[in-house]
Subunit: 481 residues, 2 copies
C-alpha cells in the first residue's frame, strides 16, 4: 500500500468503527450506564498517603480529591478515580503524600539577618548585633522582602502553615497571602519603640486596623503578639489580650524560654511566667506560647487547664543554649504541642521543619537519657496534627481527612540517603530532607511543583536579599550617629 | 555585499590578520616572551576557597592546581592561571571550595538496615533486631552492596575520607577503591562468631591477608578493628594491636560510648575503659577511639599523652541516648578530635556530615548551657582538619594546601535557605546541606560532577538495596530455625 492510500484508509476505518460503536451502544440496555463522576478541582493519585488522622491510617496507592480548597475524598486510588474526575491531576506514584508541615513559631523577615552573629551569649547577640541591626534596617520594605525569602525557603521545605511574630506584620500578611501560604501572623508589641510603632497607642491602632483588615480571610489569621512577660508590662499584656479577644484573634507570646527569664519573672512577680500570665487572665484557648522550656508540673497543668497551645523549638533551644523542653511530660499531660523553627538569625539558622522533627526526637532522647523519649511517629505528629492543635486549628489542618483544607506535600524517597525504608515514620523523620519535598499544595493550590515555587519570583527575591544584606553590613560597620 | 562575497572575504581577512600578527611578533624583542606555563591535571578556578589551613586562609576568587592527585598550587585565580595550564578545569565561580569532609566513624554496609528498628533501648535494638538481622543476612555480597549505597550517600554529601568498622572489610575496601573514595577500613574482631570469621584464628588469618593486600595503596588504609573493651578479651585486644603494629596499620575501636560500658569495665577491671586499655599497652598514635562520651579528666590526659585520635558522633550519641561528649574539654587539652556519623541503622540514620557539624555545635551548646561551647568554625574544623588529625593523616588531608592530597568539594550557596551570608563558617555549618554539595574531587579524580556520581551506578545500587531490604524483612518475619 502506498502512503496516500493509508492516509485515505485511516479516516474511513475510524468512521466505520465509530458507526459500529454507536450502533452497539444504542442497543445496550439503559440500566448498564455508569453513574456520572463527581467533579474535583484536583486529584492526587498513586502515592503512599500518610494521613496522620486519629487512626494513623497509611494508604498505599492512595488518592485525594480536592474541591474548593478542601479534601472531598481520600482512599485507594481505584476507588477515588472511579468516583471523581479532576480538572487537574498530579501523579504521586513513588512519592509519600503527607499533610503539610506546620511551623508554629517564626520571625520570618529575620531571614535577612540569617547568620549575622552566632555562637554568642543571648545578651551579646541581642545587644551588640540584633537590636542595632533591626533599629537601623527594619522598614516595611525590608519586612516584605525578608518574608518572601522565608516563604521561598518554607515552601521548598514542605511548610504549609506558619505562625509569626514580628513588626510590620501587615506586610508579612500581604506577602504570605500572595505566596498562597497559610499564616497565623502576630503583630509584635514590646515595651520599647519598635521599628514600626513607637508607642503603645500606635501599636494598638496599627494592630486593630490589621485585625479588621484580614478578618475572615481564608489563608491569613491576623493575631496579636505581645513579646513576653519580661518585655511587656502587665497593662500591655492585658491590652493585647483584650484587643485580640474583641476580634476573636489568636494571641502569640514567648513563655519560659530561658532560666534567666523564669528567674526574673519570679523575682518581679513571685510566680513562674505561666503562673503570672494565668493570674492576670492572659491565658486561654486563643493563646500560643512559644518555647516553654522551663516549665514545672504546675505550669504544664495550668497550660492544659487553660487549653493553651505551645511551640517547641528544638534547634533554637539548642543553639541559644536555652535548654531541653519537657516534651514527654507535656505530651503525657495532653498539652497542645507543635514544633517551630524560631527565627532564622542566630537561633537556628534556617526554617527547615524536616530538620526540626529529627532534632526534636534526638534532643529528647539525649536530654532524658532514654532512646524511647520521643519516637519518629511522635515527632511527625508534632510537625503536623500537633502543630494544628497548638494553633487551635485541628479541625481545619494537620491531617489528610475528608473535610479538611487541602494542605498536602509530596516527597521523593528514591535518593540514596533514603533507601531502603523499613518504617515510614522513621524514614520521614530521620532520613528525608527538606530537599526531598517535590510538590506543595496549600488550600488546594499548587504552590510548588517539582521543586519550582510557582508563587514567588525566586531570582528576584534572592537578588533583593543580597542587596539588603549589604546594607545591613554597612549599617553595622558605620560609626554610631 | 552578497553572502558569497562575505564567505570569500572572511578567510582572506583572517589570512592577512594572521600574517600581520606573525610579522609583528617576529619583530618583538625575545626578552618579552612569557615563561612556559606548568602543566596541571586539573585547575579549579574562581571559587571562594575556605582552606582550613593553620591561618584559616579564605581566598576570594581563588584557584587550585592539581597534578598527580596532589595540590601543587593554591592562590588567587589570576596568579594560578598565569602559572598553570590544566588538562581539565572546573569553573567554581559562585561556589564555596572546601577540603573534603572526613567521616571518622562508620559501619557503612549497615545502610541496608537503615531505619530497621529505632526508638528502642540499646539492648532491645541490638538483641531483637540488629544481631538477628546481621546473623541471617550479612554475607560478602550484602557488605559489597551496602558499602556501595553508603559510598553514594557519602560522596553526594561531600565526604572524601571515611573510617569504617565492619565484617568482610576486604569487600568494603574493594567497593571503596572502585568508587575512588579514601578509606581507613578496619576488619572487626569481636568475641563471638561474626558473619565472616567464626573464630579468633580465622579473624587473625583474614585480617593479616587483608593488611598485606592493601599495603601501600594510595586510597585504602587497611586497619584492625577490635570492637570494644567490653566485647573483646584482653588477649584479643592485645593480638589485634600486635598484628596492626607488625604491619604499621591503624587500629579502630569503640571507647566509652555509654555509661553502662564504663560501669561494666570498671566492675571487671577496676578502671575506666581508657585506663584499662592504656594499662594493657593498647593505646598509641595508631589508635582511633570512637565515641569517647564518658571520659573524665584523667582519661582525656591519657588519650592526649598516648596521641590517640577520637571520633565524636553527635547524632548517634543523641539518638541512642548515650550522652554528650566533653568536646570542649577534649579540644582544650589538645586531643586529636574528628566527627563521625556512626552506622546508619538505629543510630543516626544517615551518613550526612553537613548535619553532623550542625549537631556537634548545637549539642555542645545545649548540653553545656553555653552558646559559645562550640562555634561554627570549630565544628567545621572537626569535620576537616580535626578528622585528619584524629586519623593521624593531617599531613595528607584535611585542608587545602600545597603538597596535600587533592580532596576537594564544591558547594552551591545560591538557594533560598543559604541566602544571605554574613559569615562563611556560620553559613557552612548552620545553613548549607548535603544537597548543596555539587562537585567532589578525591585524590585529584572527579567522583561527582553537578550532583552526578561518576564512579557508581546509582540506579543499580538502589535496586539491589531494595532487594536486600526485602530479604531482611522476610528473614526477621521468619520463625526461628
Amino acid at each position: 500500500m502506498t502512503r496516500k492510500r493509508i492516509r485515505f484508509a485511516v479516516p474511513i476505518f475510524y468512521f466505520l468503527f465509530s458507526l459500529f460503536a454507536f450502533l452497539a451502544n444504542a442497543q445496550a440496555p439503559p440500566a448498564a450506564k455508569a453513574p456520572a463522576k463527581q467533579r474535583a478541582d484536583l486529584l492526587v493519585t498513586g502515592g503512599t498517603i500518610v494521613t496522620m488522622d486519629a487512626e494513623r491510617r497509611v494508604i498505599e496507592d492512595g488518592a485525594i480529591a480536592v474541591r474548593g480548597g478542601v479534601i472531598v475524598a481520600i482512599g485507594p486510588t481505584a476507588e477515588i478515580v472511579a468516583k471523581y474526575t479532576g480538572a487537574r491531576s498530579i501523579n504521586a506514584s513513588g512519592r509519600l503524600v503527607l499533610p503539610g508541615l506546620i511551623n508554629t513559631h517564626n520571625h520570618a523577615p529575620m531571614t535577612l539577618l540569617r547568620g549575622l552573629a552566632d555562637d554568642l551569649t543571648l545578651q551579646e547577640w541581642l545587644e551588640k548585633y540584633i537590636f542595632p541591626a533591626e533599629a537601623k534596617n527594619v522598614t516595611e520594605d525590608f519586612v516584605l522582602w525578608g518574608t518572601r525569602l522565608a516563604l521561598l525557603e518554607m515552601i521548598r521545605g514542605g511548610t504549609t502553615t506558619y505562625a509569626d511574630m514580628y513588626y510590620f506584620e501587615d506586610a508579612i500578611a500581604r506577602a504570605t497571602k500572595a505566596a498562597g501560604m497559610r499564616g497565623v501572623l502576630g503583630e509584635t508589641w514590646i515595651d520599647f519603640p519598635a521599628p514600626d510603632n513607637k508607642t503603645h497607642a500606635e501599636a494598638i491602632a496599627y494592630t486593630e486596623k490589621f485585625l479588621k483588615k484580614w478578618k475572615g480571610d481564608p489563608l491569613i489569621h491576623a493575631a496579636v503578639a505581645p513579646h513576653a512577660a519580661f518585655t511587656n508590662s502587665e497593662a500591655s499584656l492585658k491590652d493585647a489580650a483584650a484587643l485580640a479577644r474583641r476580634y476573636g484573634a489568636p494571641i502569640l507570646i514567648h513563655v519560659s524560654e530561658t532560666k534567666r527569664e523564669n528567674d526574673e519573672i519570679r523575682a518581679k512577680y513571685g510566680a513562674s511566667p505561666v503562673a503570672y500570665l494565668d493570674r492576670i487572665g492572659f491565658l486561654g484557648p486563643d493563646v500560643l506560647a512559644a518555647h516553654c522550656v522551663w516549665l514545672d508540673a504546675a505550669d504544664i497543668a495550668t497550660l492544659v487547664k487553660r487549653d493553651v497551645g505551645c511551640a517547641h523549638n528544638p534547634s533554637s533551644n539548642m543553639m541559644l543554649a536555652s535548654g531541653a523542653a519537657p516534651v514527654g511530660d507535656m505530651l503525657r499531660a495532653g498539652l497542645r504541642l507543635g514544633l517551630g523553627t524560631d527565627g532564622p538569625s542566630g537561633s537556628n539558622n534556617d526554617l527547615n521543619m524536616m530538620e526540626e522533627m529529627d532534632l526534636a526526637a534526638k534532643l529528647q532522647k539525649v536530654s532524658r537519657m532514654d532512646p524511647r523519649a520521643l519516637s519518629a511517629e511522635q515527632a511527625l505528629e508534632l510537625a503536623t496534627i500537633g502543630g494544628a492543635r497548638a494553633l487551635h486549628m485541628e479541625k481545619e489542618i494537620g491531617s489528610l481527612e475528608t473535610g479538611k483544607k487541602a494542605d498536602i506535600i509530596l516527597l521523593r524517597t528514591d535518593l540514596p540517603h533514603a533507601v531502603p525504608s523499613y518504617n515510614l515514620y522513621s524514614s520521614i523523620v530521620y532520613t528525608l530532607k527538606a530537599s526531598d519535598v517535590v510538590t506543595v499544595i496549600i488550600n488546594g493550590r499548587t504552590v510548588m511543583q517539582n521543586r519550582r515555587v510557582l508563587t514567588l519570583n525566586e531570582a528576584g527575591v534572592l537578588a533583593k536579599a543580597k542587596e539588603y544584606a549589604q546594607k545591613v553590613k554597612e549599617s553595622l560597620a558605620a560609626p554610631p550617629q
